[in-house]
């Protein structure tokens, strides 16, 4: 947990006051919608198909139980009793009224929550590993760096009107759970040959209509230089990023047009002139931030307590959940528990106010009051004692967040699609619901092993379809919804863009196609533990293409 201080609270209060004034000016007509647009966007407010949508940042995915309760309160008071967790560690409310927004923001601010920079052409919520601070494979807690960057880039006077949005992700683990390669800027903390830790910096990743993976421009950046280096990248982007065409305005296009090597050299030159200035990080500043990340007072416990072993034997459902949703913690006797927000037939990432309250309660009882939000649109209880797992399972199961499908075919990432979004060309959520129904038999799903499906309702790719093991992109053809299918994408440390397998298929056929691909995989894999993604790596997309289009 990160402890906010008076500065953070004051800033939020000042921000809410400013926004209240902006809404008043909009309602009185003093501001026209175009002028209001970039102001509201920078507070996380979109105008959607049916209403305004409010997006709230959950910095580095860490949420305290009182904050979760506040989200539940806002969902009930101002929305329709639920919220939607996104792929960028944010939560969205889809039904808020403009006149209520300042009050909703004031209520959120009282619990240290806000929508600042969750949209608009500025630096967005900085994301990281949802297991930060508890993962057994990380070298240190990446949230310290995410927080330093968050502060530095909050209302930054130079970078609040960039050519386009700018997304940063930070990870410090061997396994990339933060999807680094699809960000505008990626920071991977690792230890070099000399044992020093520093960042590998990548730029120019992003999906949308022109997908690119990041290119490494700085193999090793000392930690003290992280602010100045990011400043140098942003300064170049702010001045030279394209502003003539919204679809070419992301930094990935600048990097592509200039070439990563040339771009890296320009950054280097800019960085050299500022690196020893005011942005060089003082160890005292780093220590001060690090000290405000508080870790639980863990008990001294042994791994694998007797009651856990007994419960595993006694209850098959519990055993299944344990295998699927519970992961290793860096502290003995503890576990990381993933809560699936993908129950069969429900919209991925949705969470009701009642579920939020229940999860807050469970977190207080069993996870030191802490909850995490991950980019796969699931939640995490990061500090659960292994001996409490049977009780935690029962409590989570009672509110339907214990579906043991994490990482499986029905753990689908999907954008809101045509049901909510004014940009979408096609529905995404109903496609996800249909697929999850087809694979609701968990035996079948488990038989398929790890298989990520990502669905986007338009080319903007909010559902990250390019990096799904199976990617599904909704397009519109003559007023009808069609879907392009890609396979072989991934967003982890071996990131790869998926390959299109053939012509788009109509809405009704999508779930059938996914079944065909799954069957092809079962027939083609060398042994049961060869993952779907590895079979594709070995054989390419051709056999899958044949299987899908043989009868179409």
């Amino acid at each position: 947990m990160y402890l906010y201080d008076d500065f953070d609270r004051t800033l939020l209060a000042e921000r809410v006051a400013e926004f209240r004034g902006q809404v008043a000016r909009r309602l009185s007509g003093e501001l026209n919608e175009d002028e209001f647009k970039s102001l509201r966007l920078m507070n996380g407010i979109y105008l959607q198909l049916h209403a305004y949508m409010l997006r709230i940042a959950i910095p580095y995915g860490t949420l305290a139980s009182d904050q979760m309760r506040k989200l539940a309160y806002v969902a009930r008071r101002y929305d329709r009793g639920y919220g939607h967790f996104t792929t960028r560690q944010n939560i969205q409310f889809n039904w808020i009224k403009l006149k209520d927004l300042p009050d909703a923001m004031a209520d959120l601010a009282a619990s240290r929550l806000h929508g600042m920079q969750t949209s608009g052409n500025c630096v967005r919520n900085i994301t990281t590993d949802q297991w930060a601070g508890v993962a057994s494979d990380e070298i240190e807690d990446p949230r310290v760096w995410a927080e330093l960057l968050r502060q530095h880039l909050t209302l930054h006077p130079e970078f609040s009107f960039l050519p386009r949005k700018f997304k940063i992700a930070v990870s410090a683990a061997a396994h990339d759970r933060a999807a680094l390669a699809i960000h505008d800027l990626s920071l991977r903390l690792y230890r070099n040959g000399a044992g020093e830790s520093g960042f590998e910096v990548g730029v120019g990743g992003g999906l949308g209509r022109t997908p690119f993976l990041t290119k490494i421009i700085k193999p090793f950046l000392p930690k003290r230089d992280v602010l100045s280096y990011v400043e140098a990248v942003l300064r170049l982007y702010n001045q030279y990023g394209r502003r003539d065409n919204i679809y070419k305005a992301r930094i990935k296009i600048l990097v592509h047009e200039l070439g990563a090597e040339k771009f890296g050299k320009e950054v280097e030159a800019e960085w050299q002139s500022i690196k020893d200035g005011a942005l060089a990080l003082d160890p005292a500043v780093i220590a001060e931030i690090a000290a405000r990340f508080r870790y639980p007072d863990y008990e001294r416990l042994e791994d694998g307590p007797a009651n856990l072993t007994a419960a595993r034997k006694a209850d098959a459902r519990f055993a299944t959940w344990l295998n699927n949703c519970v992961s290793n913690h860096r502290v003995p006797g503890y576990a990381i528990v993933t809560l699936s927000l993908k129950p069969v037939g429900k919209p991925p990432g949705d969470c009701t106010a009642d579920q939020m309250d229940a999860i807050a309660e469970i977190a207080d009882r069993f996870s030191f009051g802490e909850i995490r939000v991950g980019h796969e649109q699931n939640l995490v209880l990061p500090h659960v004692a292994q001996r409490d797992l049977p009780e935690v399972f029962a409590a989570l199961d009672a509110v339907d967040v214990a579906t043991p499908n994490v990482g499986l075919v029905s753990d689908i990432i999907a954008c809101p699609g045509l049901d909510y979004c004014s940009l979408a060309n096609a529905r995404a959520i109903p496609v996800a619901q249909e697929i999850s129904k087809r694979f609701q038999d968990l035996e079948v799903a488990r038989g398929l092993g790890r298989l990520h499906i990502n669905i986007s309702g338009c080319i903007n790719a909010c559902g990250h379809h390019h990096v799904g093991h199976i990617g599904i992109l909704g397009v519109e053809k003559n007023g009808e919804e069609f879907y392009q299918i890609t396979v072989g994408g991934r967003a982890d440390e071996q990131a790869q863009l998926g390959t299109l397998i053939g012509p788009a298929v109509p809405y009704e056929d999508v779930a059938d196609v996914v079944e065909d691909i799954a069957e092809a995989y079962l027939a083609l894999r060398q042994q049961p533990d060869e993952l779907f993604i590895d079979t594709i790596k070995r054989l390419g997309v051709e056999p899958f293409k044949e299987r899908v289009y043989a009868t179409r």
């Binding site: 003093e30 209302l155 609040s160 702010n238 002139s273 005011a278 003082d282 001060e288």
Partner: protein, 177 residues
Amino acid sequence: MPLVKAGRIVEDRYLRVADGDPVPEQGPVLVPAERFLKDADEFARREDAVGVIWPNNRSVAELEPHLPNLALVALAFPAYKDGRAYSQARLLRERFGFRGELRATGQILRDQFVFLMRAGFDAFDVVKPADAAAFEEVAQRYSVFFQPTGDGRMTVARVRTRSAQQPANVRTERVPA
């Protein structure tokens, strides 16, 4: 379009000279970039103040040799959301040490005032009279600042660590040789 300086609406003493127009013998003038660069030597000899209107797609490094002869640099915001001039302003102030008037022109609304001041602007061509009138109040809206920029405001990090004997940053950047 009211001009705001030092928190107040003031008369603009500069005469804007368009590209083809003759430059008056006397009085402060504000001239477009091309015109200024073409006759830079002549402008340098001028007794009265000279200002230049610099576009936001041209490097301010080109201006560096002329800065001692300039009393005013006006940077352009052709659209509210086009933020290139924020970088230009910081470079002029913090890297090239420009101490004259730095004026924001174009689509300037009250919601940019704090950002503009923090980037180094000290004069503002404000579109709406109501925004200009509200300058003083709006300028004080925020009291918390995270970034060390050339405006010298104390950053949160400095206050928190109490190593704050000096303002956050006044020309602490190294100027490249």
